[in-house]
Amino acid sequence: MIRVDNLTKTFKAFEAVKGISFHVAPGEIFAFLGPNGAGKTTTIKMLTTILRPSSGTVMLDGLDPEHHKMAARKKFGIVFQDSSLDGEQTAYENMEMHGVLYHMPKKVRAERIERMLTTFELWDRRKDYVKKFSGGMKRRLEIARGLMHSPKILFLDEPTLGLDPQSRNQLWTHVKHLNETENTTIFLTTHHLDEADRVAHRIGIMDHGLLIAQGTSAELKEQTNTSTLEDAFLALTGSSLRDEDASSTDQLRDYAQIQGSIK
């Protein structure tokens, strides 16, 4: 369903993704793990057509997104790591916009919006502006929106970031359900290794732009002679911290959040 060959991405002089190859079978849940700055988000951006690869190929359900952007975009849904909601619109309007962008007929749209907002317990707040939502509510809305058009492939970039245990549980239950009933292929990243261990069929571990291991959780543990996924992860990636320079965008966003919370 997803096939990646020798994918690289270079920002100016910095190589963020250094020639990774992997594939994800239809109906598989694939967890993409790695320390901060490993290149997970960059990879997802290239898979979802918003960043052009420096070299290498991507296939989504047999389509090359480079040349068939529209057709490829129809196949997936995505929950971004950082917010992509429109704070100046209400929760309902955000959902409505998504439905229109994905060419959902009016009636289906209304049904799906109600269903998704109810599932993620936001229906009562549908008329509120998103800028007034708490961090977790925004996250839930973002997830509800990403799942709204029932995509064939779902990219979840740290979907549980900032969610309480109830919402995390709800999310994974829902994701598993989607995977089982609609055979949705799922590509996720998370720093909660227990979650990955619980839901993923297969796991890839990335570090410093390289895919350093892949396999089932059991295989990874066996390979590293460890008993938990967390230990396997640390054995593979070492225990040094990744000192990451926050990019100017991140700083700006932080600044805006501070501004926003003061207002």
């Binding site: 057509t49 918003i50 052009r52 917010s83 992509s84 429109d86 409505e96 916009m97 962008l101 994905y102």
Partner: protein, 248 residues
């Protein structure tokens, strides 16, 4: 079609939902009108040019429309920094539609601002030559709005951060306004000013507005309209191109 409509509507809602911003953006032209309009009136009349208020009102309309539409075009930059642009860029919709919806949304906001400032001018004593003048003046308001919303789109899609945005705002918007004949007649200018005002598209918008509203032309209707249409078309194409190249 639906996609263009909903993006257009979003720009409009954004505008209508922030009354503070609406009033705020009228403050500057209102201040100019009152301070300069009344201030320069005696000198202007003495020079045999008639009422300065009459003269400058079309300029203020042009200025307001330019600023308002350019800034809503540049909002792309804002949306990109804060993320909401991503959502539209991964959707199975041609970028051209997104660009068109946003640009025309911004232009519509510009037109609405233009109408508001026209009303404000009338309150301070401005009188168009007759009612139909307002209708044909409207054509120029729309042209200015489209040209500069598209220019804003080009800038917003090309710039990478908010710092450069301030530079653009100061080194482009204000010179364009001051070198457009919004504040003074374009006759008998020194060579350099005369060249600068002639290459500034806003000059033709202001001239068209002033011509239709009070019958005072520097160029002529045909030249103004043709020039604005060409500039508008070029800006729209360039805007569509730079928008299609955005990476997150």
């Amino acid at each position: 079609m639906n996609v263009i409509y909903i993006l257009w509507l979003r720009e409009l809602k954004r505008f209508l939902r922030s009354p503070v911003q609406v009033l705020g953006s009228l403050a500057q032209p209102a201040f100019f009108l009152l301070a300069l309009g009344f201030g320069f009136n005696p000198v202007f009349e003495k020079a045999g040019q008639g009422s300065y208020m009459q003269f400058m009102a079309p300029g203020m309309i042009g200025m307001t429309v330019l600023i308002s539409s350019a800034f809503s075009g540049v909002a792309v930059l804002w949306d990109r920094q804060f993320g909401s642009l991503k959502e539209t860029l991964v959707a199975p919709v041609p970028r051209l539609y997104i660009m068109i919806g946003r640009t025309f949304g911004g232009a519509t906001v510009g037109v609405l601002q233009g109408v508001l400032i026209l009303l404000l001018c009338m309150v301070t004593g401005f009188r168009p030559q007759h009612f139909s003048a307002v209708v044909s003046g409207f054509g120029f308001v729309a042209m200015i709005a489209i040209c500069f919303a598209a220019l804003g789109m080009i800038i917003g899609s090309t710039l990478k951060d908010m710092q450069s945005f301030n530079v653009v705002a100061n080194f482009m918007v204000m010179p364009m306004v001051f070198l457009s004949g919004a504040f003074y007649p374009l006759d008998n200018l020194p060579l350099i000013l005369s060249v600068l005002t002639r290459i500034n598209p806003l000059s033709y918008g202001v001239d068209g507005l002033r011509g239709t509203l009070i019958g005072h032309w520097h160029f002529n209707y045909f030249l103004d309209m043709t020039l604005l249409s060409c500039v508008g078309a070029v800006f729209l194409i360039a805007g569509a191109y730079s928008f299609s190249k955005i990476e997150i």
